[in-house]
Homo-oligomer: 380 residues x 4
C-alpha cells in the first residue's frame, strides 16, 4: 500500500454533489487516496473542506494555481488531479495541471468551446500525460458489453440509434429557490451555452459513439426553454446522421416531470438490436430477427470480457452508479500504471474516455446550437 | 335483434389480414352482421370469399361500383360500408359510397393525397353521412383515459410529446419473397408515397392529437430507406412543433429488428406526464412532480368514464387489439343510431375518428415528405 | 354458413359477467350461434334475457329441464350446451344434458364434489359426448407454447413449480354491499366449500398440470378467512408434491389489495425454467443455465405450433382474455366436427380440458380442505 | 480523520467473495480503516492477505485467538471486528471477541445452533458491546421505506406475506467442480444443517420481520435436495403463521435455473400492499384498494426519512448491493459513536440488526428442519 496512488481534487468542496461521488468511486476499490485539494473558490472554505476530508492542512490550497504550484514543489506530488468545478473553470484548471505535467481527470462537458478542448487535447499529448473525461455512464458493465457486441458485428451494420436522456428536476424554476445545482447549471456564465445538451445530452451523445463506434456527422436540432425566465435551453430534440449511413435521434430534457435520470440507448442493426436503460443498468436486452429477445444481466456467463472486467459482484447483486464511476477510476489507475511502465494501457485502462472524446461532445453541442439558430442540418 | 345493423365490406377477401380483424371486431359485440361485400378485385374471388363468409350470393359483388349500385336498389341496403382495400382504392371506393348516401368506415391512411381527403370530408358533410377512419389504436381504454386526463388538465399544459412506432418486420427485403402484405405496402402505386409514415406513422400522429388535443403545426423530417431496392422509406424521424408552444418528436421505423408493434406515446406537461405502450395496452403510467409514478390499469375504479365505457371485462382480464378495434365499431353503431334518431352521438359514438382526422394524417405525411426533400421545417 | 353450429346457454342471463364472456368468445371466431337458453332461475327473466340476446321466444326456456326437453324434441336441436350458472347447479344441469346426449361445456369448478365429477365423466364417456370444462387460462397461446416446451424436455425434468393466483377484490366485505358476484361466490350453498381455492385456485392447479404434464399427488394447505363474517376461505397457501419427485407451492388469495387478476406460473427444470404472468399474457420468459433469459411473445417465429395455432393476429397486436377463451371454443367446434366425422380431434380440438380435468380440480380442493383441518399432508 | 474508526477482519482472505464486499462497503463511506486481521486458516496465508490489503505485518494474525490477544495488548486496538468466515467459525470467533470487549459484526447465519446465538446475545449484553449481524438486504433504502410505511399503518394491519429467495447457481453439482463457495456452503460441517434455508432463507425471514414488525410464530416446511449426492437441502417451501393472525409463505431455492439472486417481498394489509424485488432494489410498488399502484423510487420526495437517510445519491442514479451493505456499516459507525458518547444510537445506528435478530434466524431454520422431519406445524 506504500505505493497506492494519491490524488488532488479541484472543486468538490462542501455542498458539492459530484465531488463526493468521485471520492466514493475512488475509495470503493481503493484506487487512490485523497492527498490534496483546492476545493472551493475561497481559501477558507477550501481549508475547511480539506480538514473534513482528512487532507493535510498544507495541501488544502486556496486555488488551483496554488495547488499546481504547491504539488510541483513536493517530493511526492499527487499522481493525478480530479477537476469537478462548474464547467467554466474546467479549461483553466486543466490547462494549468497539464502544463505542470500532472495527469488530469476532468468532469464533462469538458470545456466551454471546442477550441479550448482541442487545445487541451494537444497539450496533454505534447506533455505525454493523461487527460481523461468522466463520461461515467460508459463505465457500466452492460454498456461495455453492448459496445463489445455491437462493434464486433453482433447486430450487423448499425442502421438506427435512439438515445434519450430525460429528467424532470428542472420542470419548475428551481434555480429561483436557491438550489445550488440548479443555479449554476442554468447560468450561462458558469455552465456555458449548452443548457440541457451540455449538462446531459453530451452523455447520451458519447454513449452513441461508445457503443456503436460511429461518428456523429450531422445534426438537426430544435432547442426549447420551457420554464419562463430560464436563460438556457432545458429541452432538446436532435436528428442525427452518423457515419456509414446510420441515422438516429437524440432527445434530452430536464422538464419531463417525474423522470429521474432517464438515460437510455437503443441501437438497431441489420440483424439485431440492443436496448439499455440507465435506471436498470444491470439489464441489457438483445432483439433478434426471429422476434425473440434475450435479456442479459451483469455477472452471468453470457457476458463477454469487456463487461466482465468492469464487474465486481456476482450477478443479481446490483451494482450501480458509483460502481460504474469507479470503473473509470480503476481504468485511470491502470492507465497511469501503464504509462509509468512504458506500456500501453490494457483492460479497463484502455477504456478511459479522453480529451478527444471530450472535444467531440463540446463540438456536438456547438453544432446543435448552430442548427437550432438556422433550422437545418449542420456538420459536426 | 331484428334491427341489428348490417354492413358490407370492400376488400378483405381471402388472404387479407386486416379484413378479418374488422370482421372479428364487429362480431365481438354483435355490432352488425356482414350482409354484402366486394371482397376482391375479381368477381370470382369476391364470390368465393363471400360464400366462405356466409354472404348471400347476390350480395357478393364483383366491384365496389356494383356493390353501391346493388345495395342502392334494395329495400334493406346495408347500414354501412367498411373499406379495407390497399390505400390507393380508398378514395374512389369511399367516394362512390358517400355519393350513394352510405355511411363509410375507411381504413387508414385515409387517402393518397390530402386533397382527396378534403373532398371526401366535404362530401360526407354534404350528404350528412358518417365517414369514419379506423385509427384503431385510439380505441384502447387506457388511451381514452389518457386523453381524458391530459385534456382536462391532469398534467398541466403540455410541453413535450414523444411518439414512437417501431416495427422490425421489414428489416429484410420481405417484399421480394412474395409476402403479400410486404408487397403492397412497399409499392408506391398501391400504398402511396408515405412508406413507413403512411403505414404506421399516421397512427402515432393521430394518437398525439387524440391524447393532447393539440395540432401538429410544423414538422422537420429525415426519411430513410434502409433496405436496398425498396421503393419507399422504411424509417422516419420527425421533429414536431405543436400548437400552444408544445414540442415533440415522432419516430417510426419498420427496420427495428425484433420489435413487433412498438407504438408508444409519452406526454409531459407542466405538472405531470403520461406513458402508454401499445404492447402492454392495459397499463398507463402517470408521472408526478414528486417523482412518484402511478400505474393505472383498465378496469379499476381510478379510471374515468372515457376509459371505462370502452371496457368490457373486469381489470386484470386482458383486453387487446381486437377489443380496441371493436370499440371503434361500437362507436360506429352508436353514431348511426344517433343520426337516425336525429340526436348527437354520445359515449363511444362521440369518439369515432372522422374524415378530417383522416385528412390531417395524410397532410402530415405530405409535409414530412416535403421537409425531407428540403431539410427544414414545413408547416402542416 | 348454413351448417354453422348452434348452442344453448344455461345461466348467463342479465347481470351475469361470465355468460357474456362466453358469448363474446363464441362470437369472435363465429364458432357457433346462440339459439336457445335457460338464462335465469325464473322463466320471465330467462325470456327477457333471451329476447335481448336474439333468441327465438320458444327457445328461451324457463329451466334447464325444459331446455333439454325442448331441444330434444326439435329437428335441429342445438349442437352443444354451455353451463355458466353458480357452481351448485353445474352438476344437475350437466347431468341432464349429458343424459340427453347433448355436448356440454361447463364452467369451473366443475362440480361441488369429486364424486359428482366422476359420475359426469363416466356418463359423458358412456354417452360418447363431449364434456368440456372451461379452464380458460390454458387457452392462452403462450401457455400452450410453455406446455409444448416443458413437455418436450425444453427445460429438463421439472423440479419446482410456483403457481399463484392473487386477487384483491374481496379484501373488504363486498358481499355485504349487494354485489352479486361477491355474494354467490362467498356463499357455501352456491359456491361449494372451496372458497378462494374453488373460485381461482383450481385455475392455477390446472395450469400446473397443463404445462408440466405432472400429477398433483399430495398437498399440505393452510386456509384462512381474513374478512370478518365471511363464510368461506378467502386465502390459501398450499405446498405441493407432484409426480416424478417435483415439488411446488400454490398460493391463491382474494385479499391481496390492489392485485387484479394475478395468476402466474413459474416452472424450473434441470436445465431451464419458464415464467408466465396472466396480466401480460403475450409474454413468456425462458430462463437458462447460463443466466440469460429469452423473452418470447405470441406471433413470432420462435413460437411453436401449439402456441401458433391458438393465435389470430401478428405479434405485437395484443390478444387477451376473450381470445384465450375463444381458443377453447374453437377447440370445442373442432372436437364436435371430429366426433361427427368419426375421427380424433386434432389441433385446438385436442386441447380442450375435459371432465377428468374438472374432477381433478374438485378433488384438489377437497384434499386441501382435508389437509387444512388436520395440519398435514393429504394425498390427492 | 485522526479519529476515524479502525477494524479487524476474521476470515475474508484471498479468494473470499464476501470479505471483499465488506471491505468495499466500509471503504465506500470511509466508515473505518482496516488495521488488523486473521484472514485465513493458516498464518502464512493470513499474512499474505494482510500484506495485499495494506495491513501492518504485526497485525496480520495467524488465528482469531491471536488477533484478540494481540489487539487487547495494544494501546489503540481496533474499534470493531468483522467476522466473515464460514458459518461454523462464527460462534467461537464471536465469543472470543465479545469476551475481550470488542464490538463484533458477524455474517449471517449468525451461528449453527440457536443456543449458541442466545449465548452470544447474552454475552454481548453483559459486556455492553455491540454484536451486529449483517442482514445486508435490510440496508436497502426502499426496504427501509417499506418498513416505515408498513409499521406506521400505511397498508393497514398485515394479512399476508410472500417472501421468496430464488437462485439457480446450485442447479448443478457445482460443489464437485472445486468451486470454493459451492463446496463449503453444501458441506454440513462448515455450513451447518440449514442448507438453502441457512444460506439464503434466513435473509428472507429477516426481511419479513424487518418490514412487518411481526414475529414468525409457526412454520410448516417441505425441504428438498434436488441435486444428487448433495448433502444439504437446496430448496425449501415454508408456510408461515405470523403474530397478529397474519399468514405467509417463504420459498427459497438454489436450483431455480437462470435466477440470479431473486429475493423479493410482498406484504398485503387491510388497505394496501407493498412489493419489493432485490434485483431492482431502487423500486417499491405500493398497491391500493382502488386498484392503482404507486411506484416509488429511492431519492424522490415521496420517500420518508428512514429510506432517505440510507441514500447517498439523487434518484435515478442507481445504488446497489454494496451501498445497502455500507448502510449497515454506517449504522455500525454511528452505533459505536453513540455507545462512546453514552447515548442511544439514532438514525442508521438504530437500524443495525443485532444478536437477537441473528438468533431468530437460526431458530427459524431449526424449526423448519423439525417440521420437515415430521410433516406438520412447529412453533418457532
Amino acid at each position: 500500500m506504500g505505493d497506492r496512488l494519491t490524488y488532488a481534487m479541484i472543486g468538490g468542496g462542501q455542498g458539492s454533489f459530484i465531488g463526493a461521488v468521485h471520492r466514493m468511486a475512488i475509495a470503493l476499490d481503493g484506487t487512490a487516496t485523497l492527498a490534496a485539494g483546492a476545493f472551493s473558490s475561497t481559501p477558507e472554505r477550501s481549508k475547511a473542506s480539506g480538514a473534513a476530508l482528512g487532507v493535510a492542512e498544507d495541501r488544502a490550497y486556496g486555488s488551483f494555481g496554488e495547488l499546481v504550484e504547491g504539488e510541483r514543489g513536493r517530493e511526492n506530488p499527487v499522481d493525478f488531479v480530479v477537476i469537478v468545478t462548474p464547467n467554466d473553470a474546467h479549461y483553466p484548471a486543466a490547462k494549468a495541471c497539464l502544463e505542470a505535467g500532472l495527469h488530469v481527470v476532468c468532469d464533462k462537458p469538458f470545456t466551454v468551446t471546442s477550441a479550448q478542448a482541442a487545445e487541451l487535447r494537444d497539450l496533454a499529448s505534447a506533455k505525454r500525460v493523461m487527460c481523461a473525461v468522466t463520461y461515467n455512464y460508459s463505465g457500466y458493465p452492460m454498456v461495455r458489453h453492448a459496445a463489445e457486441l455491437v462493434r464486433t458485428g453482433g447486430i450487423g451494420a448499425v442502421r438506427k440509434v435512439y438515445a434519450e436522456y430525460h429528467q424532470g428536476w428542472l420542470a419548475t424554476d428551481l434555480e429561483k429557490t436557491g438550489q445550488k445545482q440548479a443555479a449554476w447549471r442554468t447560468d450561462p456564465a458558469k455552465a456555458g451555452l449548452g443548457g440541457s445538451l451540455g449538462d446531459i445530452g453530451t452523455h447520451a451523445e458519447q454513449l452513441v459513439r461508445f457503443v456503436t463506434g460511429l461518428k456523429v456527422e450531422q445534426v438537426c436540432a430544435d432547442l426549447t426553454t420551457f420554464v419562463p425566465d430560464r436563460r438556457l435551453n432545458d429541452d432538446a430534440s436532435v436528428l442525427l446522421r452518423l457515419s456509414d449511413g446510420a441515422k438516429g435521434s437524440l432527445t434530452c430534457s430536464q422538464v419531463c416531470v417525474g423522470e429521474a435520470n432517464g438515460l437510455s440507448l437503443r441501437v438497431y442493426g441489420e440483424t439485431g438490436g440492443i436496448v439499455w436503460r440507465q435506471e436498470r443498468p444491470e439489464e441489457l436486452t438483445i432483439t433478434r430477427l426471429d422476434g425473440s429477445k434475450t435479456m442479459l444481466s451483469r455477472g452471468i456467463e453470457a457476458v463477454g470480457p469487456r463487461g466482465s472486467m468492469a464487474s465486481r459482484l456476482p450477478g443479481g447483486h446490483p451494482e450501480g452508479f458509483i460502481e460504474a464511476f469507479a470503473n473509470l477510476y480503476r481504468g485511470v489507475g491502470e492507465a497511469i500504471a501503464a504509462k509509468r511502465a512504458g506500456r500501453s494501457a490494457t483492460g479497463l485502462g484502455s477504456e478511459v474516455p479522453g480529451a478527444e472524446d471530450g472535444r467531440l461532445g463540446v463540438r456536438f453541442v456547438e453544432a446543435c446550437l448552430e442548427s437550432a439558430r438556422g433550422d437545418g442540418w449542420v456538420a459536426v
